[in-house]
Symmetry: C2
């Protein structure tokens, strides 16, 4: 039986469990702590920054993959040196870990992006602001996610605290119509598959809602997004799932916002809405197994994140009011603002499907 | 978090795991042995016939349910005496455990069945044969499944070995057009839901293939099957999933063949083909949670059992050849004739869907 080791015990690892069970894959999780979201498959609790811990965990695994992108390069390279199949590998993950390197690399691949610069001083930031209408977005090169490590600035000194730590990324504030995401999977032997382009709705810098497929996306946009994601997956040598977060600019151009080299919030709809879910596909891809069909099982899927917690009483209410909506709970203790679960409705018509998903999600409002 | 304890570590317990993960339910399995199909959730290994073992296992569970129907009545009643929610309860399970009692009880509910009799002697069997064209089916009252404990007879002495052990059930050999199955779920507070009527194709007394919905079933047949299953579920006080195996007689009447009070092979298609799978529904039902929508996600589903084993090489072949077919492996060691997994195709048209399912299943032929 194939064995996949997952570093990190969050909800992404948790949602790989059902896929592993179906495919007869043994899944082992190295969790950060007891009681993690993926505790059912946690065979070990330990520090993913410690090479010895991770090497011991990897023994007997056919492939190592990730719940997050924070495993240090030294640890990843130590695994590879021992002959462990690390997927995605350190050379690819580097671009998910460091946004400055990512921008440079995407530039060399010819991928469209917001204007950006590497800045090391307030003067450089001031110059960028002057060239871009007086406002911009500053991002720390490393460690940011879900709105953290990202800041809107309109003054040359607005990033002084971060600049004291080193170089940061500055990007133009893109005037976009909406945000989209293109999910693809790639296996080591090269096969790639794309899911339909989706629209993502962010609130407070965090994904709130995903509509699949993206409404009113023209064939040219759909093709362009898919080609772009394939270019990135191939160019960066990604194995497993790659999510490319995109801005659809006012003029219709697609600009790459962020990359994630793992199953991604924008693909949660695929559990209920796709022939092959992103979690099943990720496991297949990291094992270099043949990839699955990504066709939708219904014309429309709407996924809505639930923040805070999913008390049992609210789950029962949601199931009672919306018996056709799938509720996914991540088994986490309640905490304000925490991604605690999601709901997905599938259907034939966007308005009705979105209504049902929102009605189910509303059962979790405090 | 709700906790469901499952007695038995076979594939039915295994397939409850993904449903539990999605719903945020903690699932604990009392397995017969190490390395069971449901080992990922096995919190204990022990003998389900031992009341002390089962009582200890049940501590902390909100409901106890089953992978099989073999837990002795004394053990079930000991659980109930301790206030454990046993679902289905002993009064219902009795009819799944003893085919003679089942026939008597169904008779009192007015449900159509093959002609049957309780026989204790070869003379009685001879008399039944004489009245029913010289051939009949003899079944042991207890312990039969998948063709075991079932025998075609044409001589009064053909069941002497079983009669030496006690009374057996004899049934007329029904001339049927085909076999069907009606799956329903019922929760303690009374809510019931039915899946579409399915056709089951048996080979050697074992389910080989399931087509959902049953092709060419008229509205009257569909309604009759649903009503019949609701009558049985309510009449017997079943909680959780109930499968009613049916003969469609030459004259179109539906006759009850067997009952199963748990997720059932005839409902495996629902994992991929239904809005709510039988495994999710079973967990919801045994916790007395609101039941889910049972509408199909595609016009046709075809499920085919895989026997023997699912070597990784064959899984990869099946996934490569049929990228839209779902492969389900039960994590069992290979053994001739053993139910080792299944494949499900969903689609819009029966011929194509069945072709794809069969092509995937054929990848596992030795």
């Amino acid at each position: 039986m194939a064995v996949v080791g997952v570093i990190g015990g969050g909800q992404l690892a948790r949602m790989m469990i059902p896929a592993a069970v179906a495919l007869g894959i043994e899944i082992r999780v190295l969790a950060e702590a007891e009681g993690s979201s993926a505790r059912l498959a946690a065979t070990e609790v330990g520090d993913y920054r410690d090479a010895a811990t991770v090497l011991a965990f990897a023994a007997g695994c056919d492939a190592i993959t990730f719940d997050h992108e924070h495993v240090p390069q030294e640890v990843l390279r130590a695994l590879e040196a021992e002959g462990v199949a690390v997927r995605p590998g350190p050379d690819a993950l580097l671009y998910a870990q460091d946004k400055l390197l990512m921008r440079e690399r995407l530039g060399s691949l010819g991928v469209a992006m917001p204007d950006w610069a590497r800045i090391e001083t307030a003067e450089q930031l001031g110059a960028f602001l002057a060239d871009h209408g007086g406002r911009a977005v500053v991002k720390t090169a490393r460690g940011g996610y879900d709105g953290k490590g990202v800041r809107m600035v309109d003054d040359a000194h607005d990033a002084d605290d971060w600049l004291a730590e080193g170089a940061v990324l500055v990007e133009e504030l893109v005037v976009f119509q909406r945000e989209l995401a293109q999910l693809v999977a790639r296996r080591p032997s090269g096969e790639m598959r794309a899911w339909p382009l989706v629209e993502t709705v962010q609130r407070g810098g965090v994904c709130a809602e995903v509509i699949a497929p993206a409404p009113h996306a023209g064939a040219a946009t759909v093709r362009a997004a898919e080609q772009l994601a394939f270019t990135v997956a191939e160019g960066l040598g990604v194995t497993g799932v790659l999510a490319v977060e995109l801005f659809e600019a006012a003029d219709g151009r697609l600009l790459v916002n962020e990359l994630a080299m793992r199953p991604h919030n924008s693909g949660h709809f695929s559990i209920d809405g796709s022939t092959t879910s992103q979690f099943a596909q990720h496991l297949r891809a990291v094992l270099d197994w043949p990839l699955g069909d990504t066709a939708p099982v219904a014309p429309v899927s709407v996924m809505i994140n639930v923040f805070g917690g999913l008390p049992e009483k609210s789950i029962r209410t949601a199931l009672a009011h919306q018996p056709a909506v799938a509720v996914h709970a991540y088994g986490k203790d309640a905490r304000p603002g925490r991604k605690a679960g999601h709901v997905t409705a599938i259907g034939t018509e966007l308005d009705d499907t979105a209504y049902r998903a929102r009605a189910a999600a509303a059962c979790f409002d405090a």
